[in-house]
Each structure stands twice: as structure tokens, then as C-alpha cells.
Symmetry: C3
Subunit: 347 residues, 3 copies
């Protein structure tokens, strides 16, 4: 889908003041942006991230039955989930409905749809785009979202395609850091847990490279260490990183401790390796004890016991706020893809 | 969730007259009620039941596209069903939509959600409450709804938790008796069928104990007799009860014959016992023949052949009206939990 | 459901001119129509088809947030699917929402609902009609829709009942021919592929017999030839037909080449027969090459490789437009069943 837009309104002083966040770089004034689909984290520049986050802040302020709550009235979103993901689906559907839009749901398209009869993804997309205004899809194959976007004449949002991308998760993670820490430059982030398989931490590392003076610590069991491609990418971008086996020391230095779940399904029959990895780095009250007062614990959820429940009550436990931020990021993306950047300010 | 309210408006003479039902006890005038969650039948006093029923009557009168049909516009209900129950789910979703609200649906949360990855119910609730304004949940574990309500900052409605409670079914049953018979004091109720396993009849017996001069007859096959805890409870509350093996005689005396399904799944391999129990007490035209003219047959549905199809045409067959009453009770509860008692009268 | 209506408004000259389609036969002026349910293709006369298509044309013109987009505001449609069919379900749900209506969804009623506990379809219908204003049902048993309609006090739309009927598919097929070719009389239609098992081509043949001077060609592998009942029916109605093994020759003569999928599941263990049938008649660029300029290729979808992908870009490839027409036909039917024929013109 093609839609061009200007960012001039983002520079209105009153608006920026109200939001109290970093101003839009002057390089963007009058420049045409283009947001047709959301396919992968890499598509977003620092400037466009900043602009999306400003819209997300606007979304946080929308009240029930206010004009903003009807921004997407008359629009229809199809959630085409070839893999079930109740959490992600509900987050998108809530976002659409919070903006007055409507939803067509498929909870398990892989099993139920004509895909089971051998229809190609391309054909399914061409059919579903006749019924809806935007498609949010989750697929089991890496690259599926891009294939869909190539075919579709309406916007596609990738809600995860296999081991590939989950860009809205990456966006909400970065948005959460900005919301919690107040900045994205000059921060120290500890990525903990399964760094080999988690697409979340990989995307996050990628996006963090867009900011200045970022230091990343990798803390993971030996079997699920961060892979070389990301390390090399960070180095090439001038991002400092180091590996550490000492969670306490890392936690004491970081602004963000980003914990992840060790995914049992990655270990096959090697339950022994899983169990060893699973219990190795736990965020508990001891870890909280060494963390700085302004620092936060994040987690993409679901959480098993890699963060103990007694951490939840601490104000630095940001993971449920992080989940909620997913709602605002998705509201922002839906609005931007369907209405563009210009609408909504004076409505 | 905390919400306080007054019941004064319920005493407005015009309103009471219009509804033509028993007036609110004067003990309630100006008294603060509190309805935060719907967890179990026991939480409702006689007074609060009466007040809920008044709101349900108001719900029956709401017409398409009238102001009342938009009471819950802008509100979002999540149906978090860990066990499928299409009937109950559709009833709640219809109730929400009849009031202008929106719905996020999970048809089979147990299999699909992050529960499958080991997430606790508490974590799921903390996530879903970020996406919605009220959660209707069905769970396979007794006590799950209470756990959810303890955690949640938004209202929880228990739509059944395992062998435990199904309070909205109990409410609609009592509401139906009042609607059909015109009173809840001085009535005779025959509970028939599976009295051991059916949570419906257990909850109903419990709620009936709140009324005066109620007589309950238990008519069931030997293997699924009413358990002692309920019998003792009734006795302690001064409710008369007796067991009988003679459905005809009981039917001739009762205001309500409440039939239930013998649940095959309770008998395991003992198909012989199931079949014996299943065919023992059937409500057919012969039973209708001895029933009083004002009496009714009720059933929580689904029905197999414990009520013969030729009973359906008789005006005393109340079970489909009973199902419909579930809609009005659920509309009333959604409105009360989301808007409180004060709103809606002059809108 | 009973609803009577007049068709006089359809004759308003301005309206007819705007639509630029064949005028309503004068035999209909002032005549009472009756559209209570949509159960089978046979229920529609040529006149009523023409009237439905006029409404469908009106539906094509409804714009987002226009008054027409709120025609069904306040109405609730239940999709009761005992067999999953994501495509058909989404099409109906989109149609309802494009008209401002709301939807209660059951993606897999057979497995989840009380049907699994042994409830009859009739009881389910009596319950669900309490929650909704119209029921769209798909069932695995031929005749189920008729049984439901007999019981229900609200309209029933058959979205496919087993090997039986799928009337809305038949309607959208005929509508597509009219939209693409501009007429339904004096046309030549080639039905290609699985003519024995496809209910689509059977219904289409039936409906085409209502028009004048239609010639039908059957092109199919030996094992899935059109059955005698349809051939005899066509003959009795004076419709010319012939069988041919030469797709190229048929394609060069026809206005419509209607390709269908050979359904593997019909062949059981005889994979050899399936494979032979499956590859026999493919619509590719060679077939396009002999087709007339105004002719079109249709397909009920999903498509496997019986139409090659390089056909898609040709303007004569009408199958995705055909799928989209399903939306307009379903919008028309929902509007007609819920509002009747009179409403909507001046709104």
C-alpha cells in the first residue's frame, strides 16, 4: 500500500511540549515519509521510531467515547493467524477496537482455512483483502509477511513470522525503554536468558544500534548464547557489547535488565540441558537489590520462573506496563497505516 | 475492583410501578452496596438479588438503537475461556453487544494461550486486564475465578470454574422462577436428575434458602443423589426438603420442576449405571398432565431426552425462556459492574 | 420468519438508470415477495435474483461511514459453523460489519458446542435465536439448514450444509456473470473440472436454467463427470448442453470458463485417479489465448494449480473479483432478510 505523508505537524511547539519528549529532528521537516506495511524491525529509522512513539503517546491519552476513540470507525482489520498467539491477537484486536474499528478474527487459520486445502498464502491474501482494510498476520514461515505485503493492496502488519520477525514487539520494547528510562541514547541494557533463539532480543539489539552511546551486556547460558551475526552487526555500528556470566554485576550497572524465557521446545530431548539453562539466571529480589533506583526489569512475557513473583510488586518491575505499551504501539501503527500521519490532530 | 453505589433510585415509585415487582426492602435505602466481581452464588444477599433482578427487567425492555442499547459503548469485555462453552460465551457476548459494548474472544484459551507455555493464571489476568475493561472467565479449576479477582484491577465474572461455581446460571435460574411464578417465597421446587454432580442444582438450592417458606424435593437416581452438605445447609437455614422416588407425585405438588441432564462423563466405564440413571426420571406429557396450571418445567440446557420434545409446545415449558433470561441477567451484571447502580435511569 | 415486501421502489426510473442494469419485469410491480430464509438455490426465481442483484449493486456503492454503512446497526448475526470455513465465515462477518451490524462467532461449533454433549440442532437453534437476530449456519448434514429454518423465529442463511446446498455461492456466481458479461441470457458457459462432486457447479447449472438461450459445456475427467440428474433437469428446461473433452475448443466459444478444483478427499486411496484427473484440464495462458476478449475465467476458490498463476494478471481472470462479489451478495441478503425490501433507499 502506498501512502505519503508529511511530518510537519509533529513539530508544532504546543504538541511537542504537551508530549514532553524529544523533538522531531529538523531533517524530517517537510520530508515525505512512507509507512505502507509493518514487516520487520529494520524498516524503521530512528526518526520514524520517534514519530511512531509520539503517536503512541497520543494513544495513551485517548479516553472512552472521546473523538479519538472513533478514529478508525468504519475500518475493518482481519487477524489472519496461522499460528495461535492469543496474547498478540488480543492486543491487536483491543487496539483496533479502542480506536472504534472492527475486527474479523481467525484464531487458527492454518488448520481451518483453505490453506489446509493447499491454497497459497498469496491467494488467501487476495481473498481476505477483499473483506478488510488491513491484515494483521502471524505465520509459521519466515518471510511470509513480506510475501503477503508484496501481493496485498491493503496494509499488512507482521505479528510474527516463524523464527523471523516480530516487529511490533521490538517497537514496544524500545518504546517501553523510552517511557521508563526517559531516553534511548547513553543507556546500558542487559539482555538475559535465551539469546540464541529469542527473536525478541535479537530485534531489540538491532534497534538499539540506532541510538548513541548504547552498551549491551549479554548474559546467557552457554547453550543459548547470542549469535555472531548480531555481535558483528553491533560492532559494525559502533555499539559496545560484552558477554558476562555475572548477572549481579551486570544488573548493578544497567538501566534495563531484559529477561527472557528459556524455551523448552528448543532443546528437544535434551531436557538436562534445558533444565540447566533454565535455572541459571533468575531475576529475584537479590538482583533487584543491586539494581539502580531508576533501572527497570523487562520481559516479553509469558514468564515462567525466570523472574520470581516477589519481584512483581517492585516499581522497577516494568513487564506488565511493557505489555500494556504494546496496546499503544499497535494503536499507533493501525492509525498510521490506515489514516496516515496528518489526520487526528484536531479531531 | 471497588465501586460503591446507592440504591435510592430503585425506590422511585414510578420506576417500581413500571416494573411491577416487589419493592426494594427499606433496609436498603441509602445503603451502600458493593459489586466488584461475580465469583460465586453465595456472595448475593436476597436484597442484592432483588436489585439485580430489577435491572434485568429494565434490560428486557431495551430496544434496538435506543439509548439503553448504547449503555456500554466504548467498553471492552474479554471472554477468557479455558474450557469451551459456546452457549455461555455467546450469551455473555450477546449481552455485551446488546448494550453497545465490544468483545475480545478466546474460544479455547487453555490450548492456545500462553497458558500452554506455562504462564500462571495471575500473569495472564494482569496482561488481559491491560486490553479490556472486564473479564468473563471460564476455567477448569475450582477457585480460579477468585484467584483472578484477587489479582485483577478490573471486574471479573466467573462463567464457571470447574466443579466449583457458575453463579450467573444460578442467578438466571432464580430470576426465571420469579418471572414465571411471580414470587420466590412460599414456593415448592422439585430438583430432578443428577443432583450429585450438577453444580447448577447445588447453587440453586443454596440461593433458594434465602427465601421464606420454600420446600425442596429431591428426585434422583440412587447413584447421583444430592449430597449431605447441601441437605445440612438447607436444614440449618430452616428450608424444608425431602427426597422422593415418585416424580409424578412431586410434579403434582411443585411450582417448579427443575430437570437436569445425567452427565455421562461422570460415570466413566460404568455405562450400565449411566443408562439406568439416565432413563429413570423423564419429564414427558404424562408429567405435564399432573402439573399445576401455573407451574413450569425448567432445565439448564443442553437437554438430551430427559425432557421429551413433545413437552416443548406446552406453555409451561420454560427452559428456552430461561436460556433467554440468561441474556438479561448477564446484561444486568455487565451494566452494574461497569457503570454501577446509579447510571442509566435518565439516559 | 415472515416478512412481506413490495418491489415498487425498484422501478423508480432514476434508480434503475443509476444502476444501469436490466429493469425489473413488469410482472413484479406491486407484487408481494417473501424472503424469510436463504436455504437453497432453487428457492430463487429469475425475478427475485434480479431484485437481489440490484440490492447487491447498491451495496457495492456504500462508502465508509456513509449512512448506508449503518443500515444494520443494532443487529446481531450469529455464525454457527459446525464445519470450519474461514473464507465463507469471514465473508459473512465482513458483510455484516460493513453494514454496521455486530457478530457472534463460533468457529467450530461441532467440537465445542453442546452439540458435543448430544444436543439437537433444533435445541441449539432455539437457544442461539435468543441471542441474535439472524443465524448464518454451516453444517455437515444435508438438510440441516432447512430443519433450522423450520424451527427458528429469526432468519436462517445456509452457508453450506454438507453435500447439499451452498446457495450464497450460487448467487454470487450468477451475479458475477452478470457483472462481468453484462447479461445472463444468451450466454455460453463452460463448466470445467470436478463436476460430479462440486455442489458449486451443480447449483450454477440449476440457476442458469432460469435464463434464456443458455448453452452449457461440461469439460471434466471421466471419473468426475456431471451426473445425470442435472443433465436431465437442463434438458427438461430446454437448456442446451454438451460434454466435451476439448477445453481449448470450449474456451474459444464460451463467455465464461468456470474452473473448479478436483477435490483430493473424494478419491480416498485412489491417489492415481486423483492425479490423473487433477492434471487433465488446466486453465493457463494457452487457454486464455483462445478465449474471446470479453470472456472471463471464474473459480469458486480455493485454487490449487488448475489455474496457473500467470493467468492472474489477465483482466479476464475474474475469480478474485468473484470472491469480492460474495461480500456484496451477502450484504444484500443480510439487509433484505433483516430490513426487507422497502428500507434504505432514502436513508
Amino acid at each position: 500500500m502506498r501512502c505519503l505523508f508529511y511530518l510537519e505537524w509533529l513539530l508544532h511547539p504546543h504538541f511537542l511540549h504537551a508530549l514532553n519528549i524529544e523533538s522531531v529532528p529538523s531533517s524530517l521537516v517537510g520530508k515525505k515519509f512512507q509507512l505502507d506495511d509493518v514487516i520487520e524491525a529494520q524498516q524503521f529509522s530512528r526518526d520514524i521510531l520517534s514519530a511512531i512513539f509520539q503517536v503512541a503517546r497520543e494513544m495513551e491519552k485517548i479516553e472512552k467515547n472521546s473523538p479519538g476513540s472513533q478514529f478508525l470507525k468504519g475500518y475493518l482489520m482481519a487477524t489472519l493467524f496461522y499460528e495461535p498467539s492469543t496474547r498478540t491477537r488480543l492486543s491487536f484486536e483491543s487496539a483496533m477496537k479502542r480506536l472504534g474499528g472492527e475486527v474479523l478474527t481467525t484464531e487458527n487459520a492454518r488448520e481451518f482455512s483453505s490453506a489446509a486445502k493447499g491454497e497459497t498464502l498469496e491467494d488467501t491474501i487476495r481473498t481476505v483483502e477483499g473483506y478488510s482494510d488491513i491484515i494483521v498476520m502471524r505465520h509459521f514461515e519466515s518471510g511470509a509477511a513480506r510475501r503477503a505485503a508484496t501481493m496485498a493492496s491493503i496494509p499488512i502488519i507482521n505479528a510474527g513470522d516463524g523464527p523471523g520477525q516480530h516487529p511490533t514487539q521490538a517497537l514496544l520494547d524500545v518504546y517501553t525503554i523510552e517511557r521508563e528510562i526517559g531516553k534511548l541514547d547513553s543507556i546500558k541494557v542487559g539482555l538475559v536468558g535465551d539469546l540464541a533463539n529469542g527473536r525478541t532480543v535479537r530485534s531489540l539489539a538491532y534497534l538499539l544500534s540506532k541510538y548513541q552511546d548504547v552498551k549491551i551486556y549479554f548474559v546467557s547460558p552457554e547453550v543459548v548464547k547470542m549469535k555472531d551475526d548480531i555481535k558483528e552487526y553491533l560492532t559494525s555500528k559502533g555499539v559496545e557489547w560484552e558477554e558476562s556470566a555475572d548477572l549481579m554485576e551486570v544488573a548493578s550497572k544497567c538501566d534495563v535488565v531484559y529477561q527472557t524465557r528459556i524455551q523448552r521446545e528448543r532443546f528437544g530431548a535434551r531436557i538436562d540441558l534445558y533444565e540447566e539453562a533454565q535455572g541459571k539466571y533468575i531475576v529475584d529480589r537479590d538482583v533487584l537489590g543491586v539494581m539502580q533506583k531508576h533501572a527497570v526489569v523487562m520481559h516479553p512475557l509469558p514468564r515462567l520462573d525466570e523472574i520470581t513473583v516477589d519481584v512483581d510488586a517492585d516499581p522497577r518491575a516494568a513487564y506488565f506496563r511493557q505489555a500494556k505499551n504494546g496496546l499503544f504501539i499497535r494503536m499507533a501503527l493501525l492509525k498510521l497505516l490506515l489514516l496516515g500521519w496528518m489526520r487526528g490532530l484536531n479531531e
